[in-house]
């Protein structure tokens, strides 16, 4: 590389398309930095579930909520849904609105690297957050987990992150404004949680219980709690797995098909 001079203004000559690996590495590094510096996102995805497992470790709260497995499953699910549906979608929408995505789009980096880098970093952060939550939860609630269960929890966390990221991506694809995404994301968060938790208890009736089992939160909580309780594979788990994959396929399609890189075109 030749030295940079005042007359050059910029850097070195590179008129050929750069290797995708170099661009991808740069994006991964930058996206990791961005996510780690985003304190709101970190707080929501780690602190909120930790507060839940700590708060339910006192008195009879744990048994009232259905046992340690369900409490930890709920905490893991809340961490994922918060980070992906609220954090990821809002950050993506904001970057689109202020022109960060457009600036990246005019570089020779393939567009798939720009989006994939964000998703990979988000999934990795979610996995770390899930691991912390399950370790803290297991300690506080006296749950003995073996290595296989930890691996399964991480696999379910990947599945859950993929599902909620797909929902977040679809939200950004369908709604152009960041402030509208913020509002809709919050409503979606409450609706999904209420449907999954209240519906699942059966207090809203059998029909709602059945619907809740197929909802994103309900399906994910089923998988998490069955992994944590070391339950045998059941038809309910198969349905939950099927539901999660279904949501991933449908919302990924919507998120890609209707996604716009800027809010003006």
């Amino acid at each position: 590389m030749r030295s940079v001079t005042e007359a050059d203004v910029g850097g070195a000559a590179a008129h050929t398309r750069p290797p995708a690996g170099l661009a991808f590495g740069s994006l991964l590094r930058a996206d990791t930095m961005v996510l780690l510096r985003n304190r709101v996102s970190a707080t929501l995805s780690i602190l909120l579930p930790i507060v839940l497992v700590v708060a339910t470790s006192f008195g009879k709260a744990q048994s009232r909520l259905g046992g340690a497995e369900l409490v930890i499953a709920l905490a893991l699910t809340i961490g994922l849904i918060t980070s992906c549906v609220l954090g990821y979608s809002l950050s993506l929408a904001h970057d689109r609105e202020v022109g960060v995505l457009q600036r990246l789009q005019v570089t020779p980096a393939p567009t798939w690297t720009i989006m994939t880098s964000r998703l990979i970093v988000q999934v990795v952060i979610n996995l770390i957050a899930s691991l912390i939550v399950v370790i803290v939860g297991a300690i506080l609630h006296g749950l003995a987990l073996n290595a296989g269960q930890f691996v399964l929890v991480l696999l379910v966390a990947i599945l859950g992150a993929a599902m909620f990221l797909a929902i977040g991506q679809a939200l950004v694809g369908l709604v152009p404004s960041a402030s509208a995404i913020n509002a809709i994301g919050r409503i979606l968060f409450i609706v999904l949680l209420l449907l999954g938790i209240l519906g699942g208890t059966g207090i809203l009736g059998d029909v709602m219980k059945s619907i809740a089992g197929w909802s994103p939160v309900g399906a994910l909580m089923t998988l998490f709690s069955d992994v944590l309780s070391h339950a045998a594979w059941s038809g309910q788990d198969a349905n939950a797995l099927l539901a999660c994959f279904g949501y991933i396929v449908v919302f990924t399609f919507i998120g890609i098909r209707w996604f716009r890189w800027d809010t003006h075109s």
């Binding site: 203004v9 070195a12 590179a14 750069p18 740069s26 930058a30 020779p108």
Partner: protein, 261 residues
């Protein structure tokens, strides 16, 4: 122009370019060429189609028809190869607010395939007077500093063609003059530049040739002096001129004096 540049393709060749957003036609079949080492200005009132033209060249919007070739490469058929030859400063350049200036430079160096060490980044920042701001974030910079950084990022890979969308908008006179010097330095380093501007002063100060566009159509092209000479007797221009005809008189005469939003 040298013999070598005369035999090579123009740095930018835009032909019969049409851009539409739904039913709204933004660019209606404009054509122009930019040669090596040339600064070409695109002038037009708000909504004339300047940014849409740039967006089509940059690959941000797909043209309905026509072509734009960068160094002979079709921007639709070979978008990534074309973008590797292109440096872009968008109208509202925005970088990730969480990243420091150093991290932004590192990111964009990687995206353009340029390997730069921390020392090289620091040295580059010194040349544009931002060495004391390396640890700051983009939003913490002044308007002039943001424009200098955006221009640095646009030229980090020494592109053949620089696209600058209203590069001096919102700058104070000192920063504007400093940016003009940098644009001329970039031309001195052999780069070609396409810039859009509302400022006739800017067009006359830095552009070798300008094109006036309105309602998506190209109205006239030439050097600022040629345009004045060509249109000085046009009744529409004479009607708005106060004394000697200026480039601004030509501009207002051809595009009308109603205020555009």
């Amino acid at each position: 122009m040298s013999d070598a540049s005369a035999s090579s393709p123009p740095v930018l060749d835009v032909g019969d370019l049409r851009v539409a957003y739904g039913d709204k036609i933004a660019v209606s079949g404009i054509s122009f060429r930019i040669e090596r080492g040339e600064i070409f200005g695109l002038l037009g009132p708000n909504g004339a189609g300047k940014t849409s033209t740039l967006s089509a060249i940059e690959g941000l919007v797909a043209p309905k028809s026509g072509h734009s070739l960068i160094d002979g490469l079709d921007t639709v058929k070979h978008p990534l190869d074309a973008k590797a030859r292109l440096g872009v400063q968008l109208q509202a350049s925005s970088f990730q607010p969480e990243l420091t200036i150093q991290q932004i430079a590192k990111l964009y160096a990687g995206l353009y395939g340029v390997r730069m060490s921390r020392d090289q980044i620091a040295e580059s920042m010194r040349t544009i007077g931002l060495d004391a701001e390396l640890g700051k974030r983009f939003k913490q910079l002044s308007g002039g500093q943001q424009q200098r950084l955006a221009l640095f990022i646009a030229t980090i890979h020494d592109p053949l063609l620089l696209l600058l969308d209203e590069p001096t908008a919102g700058l104070d006179p000192q920063s504007r003059r400093a940016l003009w010097r940098r644009i001329e330095q970039a031309r001195g380093a052999g780069r070609s530049i396409l810039l859009t501007t509302h400022s006739m002063e800017e067009a006359q100060a830095v552009c070798d040739r300008v094109a006036i566009i309105d309602h998506g159509s190209l109205l006239t092209t030439g050097s600022p002096a040629e345009l004045i000479e060509k249109h000085k007797d046009d009744p529409r221009v004479l009607e708005v001129a106060h004394g000697e005809v200026t480039l601004e008189d030509v501009f207002i005469g051809l595009t009308g004096d109603e205020i555009r939003d």
